[in-house]
Symmetry: C2
Subunit: 532 residues, 2 copies
């Protein structure tokens, strides 16, 4: 779910983490002796063997963490009950379609006017290939997947102050940056300036590699010709019949790319989180939540707003009210509790846990995020601009425009993601607006990237996560300092209560984090039950 | 349809072309004044306005070029007849499924044993986003498309003599090469060795860009840490709950990457031809041929083997026999002829054209190519290795293994492309084998990349294009010299005959070339008819 600005923060944190962990070199050595293979945290379906002794578990929250716990704990023999604030399962695993309505904090209600078959995923919207647990649940629960296009070479990069405000094709910026960098290094190599770093034998291969990789000519120059055009695309494409020879376009100067800072977006296509092949469920992300609910829906009490969580040596007592008619207090009890309520909410609930867990619950702010879906009369991005899926990036407040990864090449209406703002001033600015204003602004800004917006726009819906009643924010936003101080305390079992969710993982804001956190929590809970 | 070895040849040709075309700089200037926008050769549905005067056209071949001509000429008012050698439409637009059988030159017949729903595309198998004409016909004819995954960061690169023969993840080679190159250039920059090439102001931005792009640490070093791991992947992935912190793996040394020559494959993911977003028709490439045939199937006479093509001032006369029972000569006549028969076949047919077109027909050899589809009991590449679609490259004779871009994450059987050899000695070697031997060799070689092959293999089918009776080769293989001498002569209208097909285009071996060639040919033919 996080976008790239979030990742930037995370990289900085990791950097200081590496600096502070003196023993990390030893860890690499240890891992390396096991070979290069990546070790996943998911080893296939969980096995909770042993006698549950008739124990009961109360699960708070029917998002992916809660439903994973409910599914696996029932299968292991527990008596399970789930309380869920919303009227639907899934939590942030959520899709908005025509006919849906949504009321945010402050009371503004939006009715979604999308055409049948079109949707917006306000929360998570893509699945990396290395999210093994989530993919396995999709397989086991029969959720059909299709590719999510993260990198589309023909999508756009846009800087308001560069190239006279004209968006550039990703393929041009990517190829030209790589070409110029290759030329610089090749020339340096030829001039003998790398002599210390590279052996004579390797230098010759390096030159060959730079020529291939950077689309250099025989003199190791990167310039406008049919060599670079074979990578970046042509001014006139090759065709058929007479007069069909291709023509190369100009290349962009290195200094213009550097000053534009558009190079900063290129990492979004090589980060492990966003590498090919990514997926999305066919028909909307909530197909996953619905699939879980087909298994455990009978255990879920919807519209249940938890107001108090108490525990004793004998078990757990949870008070709740009907979230739509909060008059009469109700009570649920069980031997154990798996609480997946977001920390942003949980920190406001009276919960009977020790001071260390309580401090951890209070220590994690939630990130701000806004997503805006816009419906247009036609898929002009495909028809006019040959952009099929992927993401255009801009320094305008909307930050991203993402084109749908389904319904490719079809006639008729389409919904694109007209803004995806994650943290930062723009996010708070959009959150503070009325929904209609958010949409109007998204159309206004977007029309500077795609002028077709003005004529083709029909309707939109805008979700600002800090105004979403069931999370009051997008996802747990850990700093490295907070993690060092509080993370383990958050994850430890406190008496009869254990927490789970993306906030209790090293993959915050991703569904995989929620599931892996839940599997780890119930594994430890189960061990405790069996051991007793 | 071409693979990357073909592209290598093409690049070399382009290089000499650039060198020889003195006026190309002027062309860039001319193009540049029009802006950076790429000019496609397809401007939307063709418009053949004007009086056809009741003229008739005989189209030879019901591949994509022939059926495009038939569809558009009938729509313009011509009387159209199509003669086709095969019993099915599509030509090289072809998919093999369970129950199909195929007899190659020499008489060997293969029966395809694939499970229902699985298939091999022996010919074209992917569609670039910039093939505007093909995409438009797919839209007009209702052919559903889905993404074809060309670049999968988690697929493999394999060199028999490097890394002890152990395949490497593409993401590791790609990230590590880019990281080391960035480090080299960053250090050179810091040492003041770039002073002539880059201004002081730009140097600082260049360093920032290299750090971001190359996953360098704060000292501009590329090494094993959580910064590079965020790009290349982890030795231990981040997880959920306790003990979930990620661990970085080792990076591969630059000299090891250089010596392995695995860097040579990286260009296959940035070449314009293979850039994201690519497509394939849902259910098999022949969905396109079938969609065309729904429109023009009534015009096609199947099993018609052309034996002679004559023309006079009054029209065209074509002799043909039944390709399955070649006894009685039959004759078709028309005012005009659009001939899409591959040059490999046409050069063996008595055709009455001038010496320049005849020389052109005889001047183009056809490339050699072999594709082998293998069915396995389960999709082990996904289940065991997290490889979803994309291509692994190897220096073994099979050259490529491509994983299916459909049915992702499903249980049950799967068909992958177990060999894709284009030109070169390996291609001729595979062509010379009996089909069963080709398959056995593909399984043997493939098991060195994926040991699961031995236990999971079920059956296969192997198409060697030089033994395919209707083409005797894969596609027209133009040299730059041949193009300069013959291409225009091949495309000119000769009396009442005009040629079309991928061989009459600058996009050889691609379906787009066939369609664009056909549209150009019939446009010129129609102008001549209207002008008369």
């Amino acid at each position: 779910m996080p976008n790239e600005s979030e990742t930037t923060v995370s990289r900085r944190d990791l950097l200081s983490l590496v600096g502070s962990v003196a023993g990390s070199a030893a860890m690499y050595q240890a891992m390396t002796s096991l070979g290069f293979a990546s070790e996943t945290n998911y080893k296939g379906p969980i096995k909770l063997a042993g006698d549950t002794k008739g124990a009961s578990v109360l699960v708070l929250g029917a998002g992916l963490a809660g439903m994973t716990a409910a599914l696996e704990l029932r299968a292991a023999g527990y008596k399970v009950q789930v309380l869920e604030f919303n009227t639907r399962p899934g939590g942030r695993n959520w899709s908005l379609r025509g006919g849906d309505s949504f009321t945010e904090l402050g009371g503004a209600t939006q009715a979604c006017g999308f055409e049948d078959g079109l949707y917006l995923n306000p929360g998570p919207w893509r699945i990396p290939y290395h999210h093994r647990a989530l993919l396995d649940y999709c397989k086991r629960l029969g959720v059909a997947l299709e590719p999510f296009i993260q990198l589309n070479h023909n999508a756009l990069l846009h800087a308001s102050t560069a190239f006279a405000g004209k968006p550039q094709r990703i393929r041009d910026i990517k190829t030209d940056f790589q070409g110029h960098v290759s030329e610089l290094l090749a020339k340096t190599t030829q001039q003998g300036k790398l002599d210390e770093a590279v052996t004579v034998e390797d230098k010759e291969i390096l030159l060959q590699a730079l020529r291939s990789w950077g689309a250099l000519d025989k003199n190791y120059a990167y310039q406008a010709n049919l060599i670079s055009a074979a990578y970046r695309g042509y001014a006139k494409d090759p065709g058929g019949g007479l007069g069909a020879a291709p023509v190369a376009g100009e290349v962009i100067k290195l200094q213009d790319i550097l000053k534009s800072r558009l190079w900063g977006y290129l990492r979004n296509f090589s980060l492990h989180e966003f590498q090919t092949t990514m997926f999305q469920p066919v028909g909307g992300m909530d197909m996953i939540g619905k699939a879980f609910a087909r298994e455990v829906g009978d255990l879920i009490q919807f519209d249940a707003k938890v107001t108090r969580i108490q525990q004793s040596d004998g078990g757990v007592t949870v008070n709740f009210v009907n979230s739509k008619a909060p008059s009469a207090q109700q009570t649920a009890t069980a031997d154990w509790c798996v609480c997946t309520i977001p920390l942003s909410i949980l920190s406001q609930i009276n919960i009977q846990v020790g001071p260390r867990m309580k401090a951890a619950i209070d220590a994690v702010p939630y990130s701000s995020s806004v997503k805006i879906g816009l419906q247009f009369k036609r898929r002009f991005w495909e028809e006019d601009e040959s952009i099929y899926g992927g993401i255009s990036y801009t320094d305008l407040p909307i930050r991203q425009i993402s084109y749908p990864s389904s319904g490719f090449n079809r006639s008729g209406r389409g919904v694109l993601l007209g803004a995806y703002v994650y943290e930062g001033a723009n996010s708070y600015e959009f959150t503070s607006m009325a929904p209609a204003d958010r949409i109007a602004r998204a159309v206004e800004f977007g029309s500077r990237i795609h002028p077709q917006y003005r004529a083709e726009f029909e309707n939109g819906i805008a979700v600002a996560w800090h105004r979403v009643p069931f999370t009051l924010g997008c996802a747990g936003s850990w700093t490295e300092k907070a993690r060092a101080e509080h993370y383990d305390n958050l994850c430890q079992i406190d008496g009869r209560i254990v927490l789970a969710g993306e906030h209790a993982s090293y993959i915050p804001a991703w569904q995989e984090g929620a599931i892996l956190s839940s599997l780890d929590a119930i594994t430890r809970l189960h061990e405790r039950v069996v051991r007793r």
